[in-house]
Symmetry: D2
Subunit: 505 residues, 4 copies
């Protein structure tokens, strides 16, 4: 869940500059940021403890904040906190404040600017029908449009998330049964979503009609579980049952399971970035091992753009599987040429300019013994702004690498995402504004190559990409957005009414 | 602002018991609790710092939480925290996070159970018209009824305060100008309120049609100030201008001051408890010095029920002015027979039963030298449950008092309040269920007397109470409620949909 | 316990300026500051909980920090924290971390600069003989000299308190029995002390040979208690047994009580400031009610320097008993002309200069109704720098007082203290450097008068002061220091080795 | 620095049991724990900020606590905190509280029981000669003996670390120059140490006569730096100059560098565990790349005990370099068969027994796709208790591995360490009490093999181990302790006087 995506396309007012600066600073880190992870369980006496473990396994999908809502048969209980799952939800007294056998949970990704407690999910509202909690992974492409309309009709927004729009749509539905109101709300929204919801009777899961965001069904002690990835089932020893289907709404209550398919059938378009970066390598997404897909990306890269070198060096940790695949295919040895410091937390203050220019290496350190005097291929998962890549290439040269060839295990990113991936707009995407040769020069590599789009499809076991019917949401590489982008076409309106409140947590 | 008052009349569900136990424990302390204090300023470059000082002077009206919302011309800023004003708002970095020349602030009284950050005021909402913040002192008598209706029509409630009802009413109004929408909302609500509100253009003050809750207008450096009491003007050296009139809506913006009187004129009924207990002795309320009124209550008590004793002993601090008045009128020496420990904070854990029975005296200690061998009159401001009075009488006897006569500087409280004073219901009010003689025996005093209702009026400089047209809201003594009690007559409906969410702050 | 008192007489090094500035700022507040309070109990199953309550009753003697050490038969347990007793020791989990039936506790006064956790008492050391904890109220006049000597011989100091000197002296004694080592240490020290000490077998109390600092013996459930004041007995319903005698060392263990009197008998010289300011009014110090003494000071003032006025106004809270005494003796009405805000905690940031000049009144507010148009006598307990008095006189005039006469219920303070009272040096004492008329002009009063020294003695029920044999430690008024001032005569040595470490808590 | 090592060999008193349980629980994690890391810099205007970065790079050597002491020409400043370096020392306000151009810092390893703020280093004392701060990596083998002697002669111990012994020895030395006193202290201690010390003039580094603990010299902007490992130089771009020699004492002050060699020359015996586990792979220790040594261990393992398998799987992260070496030597593919969750912080509470038995995998998750149906070799760095190995083998089988062969890149650990490595005593070391076959059965592997001792030496580029003159401190494998174990031979004395104080931080 993120701030309505249209925000960035309007000229920011003066008071917004700080935020954008922060954002910029953060994205200089050049990392894709996942939008969220969700988890839900129904009917288990230790619902909150299990949800905490599940969220912990999904921590890579969001480090900013975490929340759990439970229902104990009488009352809803909610704990939402900034920070890692383990900071809060490892403690017995917190879990004890979350009694009940039904729970939904959420982890949220880390931004610098706008994180406030009000935005931490699951969101909760007291509807006429009773309490209702929602955790959302994804982003609505008409969230801002709906929000404006709701506000115009007197709705009061408490958060700046577009998830709140869903709550209001459910609240205002005139349908009779709760599930009908819920489905009516889903029919109004566009975009990407994997939702877990809790009422005082039901756990509900829902996945957008194209299946852009992932959601799987598991089972533990005969209790159904919903989770963003299978690794959240593995941590608690739960059985993987199946993926929730694109457009499926699944409802668990005392009486059993109910399945709704409120949308006309369409070919699915799961997000390709789950394979490239987001999902954990040990997860199975859409029936494919993420680790094996990444190795196959690496092997395909070796096929497409190999040069003669002494060693293959991954940019840790995200480049490791592709580097293993590349090394195995090419026969060039895999070496840990970069060591990652896993203790990096906050940003340290930096000493004087003179020292800063020496290049303080908080997160990555060169392993000189593996690099010095060698010709190396560096492998990373993807390239966003290029600033990190540039630093790493320079670090390799400083450590004595004779040649540095940079390889990316995904195609050039040339378009923004509107489905929950936190990318800069086009101006900030290196590949959108530079030729390959320009990029090579900026990064300072001896050669630079990306995985081809068709190569990416082939590594997935598909034929080359079919432009008429692409199998994945690959718009960042191709511009082929799988849904309407309603908010993007309506940005002419001033948006003064949003995000006016800055509140410290 | 408090949880909807009807809550307590329905049988609590199992999960509510803890809360009620806490409440009960707290009220055993036998203290009237004020509902809140509000403050607002328009056009001052240091609006937040001044508001912090004003709230500090109003701290006696609410110790549970405090909040300030400012607007800086571009954006609203909000800081709301549990704890004392000085815990948070004395710090430069907090004030710096509250830029702007317009501010409203709020202090909230201390309860044990339901305090959660969501309920801390000023509440804020983003309406179609822009941001809107409200701080409320008082309680609505149709808040629950309105809330149900709003929820039934799809409104989503985020807090459990009835202040939120006002926000929703403004949001849903179809009127054109903001002030018309605001007044439409006021017309829908019943009960007691002193409101300070902030939009991106205006500071608005409003007082209920009967003026039950106080609100004064001041001025500092040509900037208008709104505050619950004059002591909040004195602390910053601001000039007292006048009381906001009952039913008055006053609007400050760049263009000047606008006054609205949307209600038909009625005789005012300010709450008599502001004089008895709530307001600070150095405040001027409705043109009267609170200190002088309390002294006059004491003198009147001396007139009505004096007995021959050696010393007059106040129950500190609330009984001191009345004791001074009693002593001056009677000529019997005033002595500090009870010493109050001002460091009392949290409730200490108590040692073993044996020690507990000795009576641990956390808050009040007897000053044996002033009491031993003496006949004393103890003076307190009012009597609620009687548990504290009983302990104090016993403490006086243990310290050697020969006779202990108990005098209350107000009449017997026999009815609950529905306007923001946190009283137990009738069953918990000692005077509602016992004769004077029974009360005397329970408290263990040699004699017991209350101020008469007519005496109370006379001490205020009025003739005896006119039942046809009482000058004050005195329903706790007389049962004459000044407004409809809509919520009280509609409690038959189950209220399962409210307050379902327990959230830790 | 404070930093070695010689510190202030040497020119501060550059790095010390900040501290002194802070100190100065603080003392501008013009308040006498108590040095500490101590408490101990032996043989009670809930020693820590009782000690926490006792310390809470002694909170007025020190608000900076508090600590408790217990022994459970196997191990010592210690909790020492900055802040009020109630902030930490009201919590069950803290008390549970302090098992055992023997406890000593300490509260420490509030300074701004040098407060660090290392200095919080009781101090603890592991001696050859076993663990040893000490809490100290008072100040040694040869602490610095002893410290230098100990350090010269290889002792390592961890705190900057002179209490640590006592621990080292005990550690280095070559005597056989523990109590002999303890007494040897006492014989080496000069100055003022009330000590509570704990070993793995004994609770020990000790009072300096002149009884400068107070220490009383109480009893609860047959367990002996030591405390600085009787109010710490009253809070837990303990019986007052007697005062520990000057020079007495009292030892409690399983076998019973052992009394040592290691010093030659001398006429006692208890500190007169316990009556003037430090002790709580409900305490009995040296057999006298503090409240009654203060009233007698007020009555004596009325005898010595009355003028014709309309009302008597105390500076709260310390001036109240003297004002009651003055009013009763003079027949002039006592009025609460100044209201004290008991919520004052941290120092608030102040708005702009213009506002600041209006005079923000955080702590004291004028009660205009009691003052306006009146001739008043203001009564305070003592005068240090005069800055507060000046502000209060101006506040009274601003509130409309026609005449303001200032009366002090103690003589002029013209000399510093070296026994634990935190006074400025002579240059900072208004009375040490100005005539009465100059002081009157500075303060801005219509008249100014102090209690005479002989009047002070008479109010205590003594004849006029006998210069050959004064009954009290009254050196601040008379210059007659009751002990050697060894450190003061040896300040020529550089003190670079002390207090070098600044550590944040 | 750890609690005196003799502690564990005496029967624990009742009150010690909890601690031991905790310890046990912790060691079940089956991890070697490093004792500490040190850092120092002289003459740099941003000494504290640079020290913070250096400590961050040494974070793997200690996660429990961190501290920095600086000297600013007038005063020492100290900040010592529990938690990671980045939790505290990344913040500008903390660094600002540490002014000065000389600094020493320390990170301390994570234990559960006895961590208290008093023990966090650098320790500081005010000696006769001035302030003195010490950070210590290592452990003294006569620390307890010296401590007893010092306490017997009146020394007061404030911490339970044996580092404090060094401070007392310096304090009590009668020598004239500070450095002579320091060296006298070093001559009295036995065991392993790398020390960084700060006085008001000097930065001093010292390494024990056998060089058991590492210490390197670096340079940044012409300022000398001392650090436990070269990775702490790399992070700030400092130049590596040389290793401090065994037995060398190096002193930096305004005048330059002074080198002392107070010990008779001996063949060095650096700790072999720095290569096996402790040092970061990118560090150069004793002239050897830690990464290359670990790869060589893996290659040697392949030479010694290869079996035919499908894949090589490292236990992350410590087994990765050896697995890379093994894979390269054997030609069997390297695969990430286990995924490590780097977000593991606190221990989570675990749901019911039924769930717990399924095996919650907080830290390691199987990567099923890489394992299923495969014969695998698992490579880990070392084996302590075996509990983790057992779980990992079972996890591999549950994930479908057909065969699981376990290989350790170090010899069997059969003896405890007394030089700062936190190992269980012999009873807790699996290899000390079981045959190879028994271990294989316990762990549940199809085969089990350790690196041979001679193979370990050969992988280091040495000939086979020379029992007459081993080149490394390898006592955990061989029993050949390089120094006296004074404390171990004197454990008959009761130790009641130590560690009596339990204090919360």
């Amino acid at each position: 869940m993120k701030t309505p995506s249209g925000d960035h396309s309007t000229p920011p007012s003066k008071s917004d500059y700080d935020l954008d600066d922060d954002l910029d600073k953060d994205l200089n880190g050049d990392t894709l940021r996942e939008e969220c992870g969700v988890f839900g369980i129904f009917g288990h006496p230790e619902a909150a403890a299990i949800t905490a473990l599940g969220l912990h396994a999904l921590q890579h999908r969001g480090q900013e904040a975490a929340g759990i809502v439970t229902y104990d048969g009488h009352r809803f209980h909610s704990e939402r906190r900034l920070g890692l799952v383990g900071d809060t939800f490892s403690r017995a007294e917190v879990i004890e404040r979350l009694p009940g056998s039904m729970a939904v949970g959420h982890v949220r990704y880390s931004t610098t600017g706008g994180t406030i407690l009000r935005n931490v999910q699951p969101l909760f509202a007291e509807l006429n029908a009773g309490g209702f909690a929602v955790g959302h992974n994804g982003n609505l492409t008409n969230g801002l449009t709906l929000r404006r309309e709701l506000v115009r009709h007197g709705a009061m927004m408490q958060s700046t998330t577009d998830t709140e729009v869903i709550l209001h749509l459910v609240a205002q539905s005139k349908r009779g049964r709760f599930i009908e109101r819920y489905i009516e709300a889903l029919r109004a929204i566009e975009g990407a979503y994997a939702l877990v919801s809790l009422t005082n009777k039901k756990l509900i899961g829902a996945r957008d009609p194209l299946g852009i965001r992932p959601l799987v069904l598991g089972e533990l002690d005969n209790c159904p579980i919903l989770a963003s990835e299978t690794c959240a089932l593995d941590i608690i020893g739960a059985k993987y049952v199946r993926d929730i289907e694109p457009g499926e709404v699944i409802v668990f209550d005392e009486k059993g399971t109910e399945i709704h398919k409120p949308f006309p059938p369409q070919p699915p378009r799961p997000c390709i970035f789950e394979y490239i970066y987001f999902s954990r390598p040990d997860s199975i997404v859409g029936g494919r091992s993420v680790y094996e897909v990444r190795k196959a990306f690496g092997a395909q890269l070796a096929r497409e753009s190999h040069v003669d070198v002494d060693v293959i060096v991954p940019v840790p940790d995200s480049g490791v599987p592709a580097a293993v695949g590349y090394s195995q295919h090419s026969g060039v040895p895999f070496e840990l040429g970069i060591i990652r410091n896993h203790y990096v937390g906050r940003t340290f203050i930096q000493p004087t300019q003179s020292v800063r220019e020496l290049g303080v290496r908080m997160k990555h350190a060169p392993n000189r013994a593996a690099i010095e005097g060698k010709r190396i291929i560096l492998i990373d998962d993807s390239l966003v702004r290029g600033t990190t890549s540039k630093k790493i290439v320079r670090m390799m040269r400083d450590a004595g690498a004779k040649e540095v060839h940079f390889r990316l295990a995904s195609p050039p990113i040339v378009n923004p995402d509107y489905y929950g991936i936190d990318l800069p707009d086009r101006g900030g995407l290196l590949a959108a504004t530079h030729t390959l040769e320009e990029m090579r020069q900026i990064i300072g590599a001896d050669s630079l190559a990306f995985l081809s789009i068709d190569g990416m499809y082939r590594a997935m076991g598909e034929p080359a990409r079919d432009p008429a019917n692409p199998k994945f949401a690959d718009h960042c590489f191709t511009g082929a957005y799988p849904t309407h982008l309603t908010d993007q076409t309506q940005v002419e309106q001033p948006q003064h009414q949003l995000s006016l409140l800055a509140e410290a947590s």
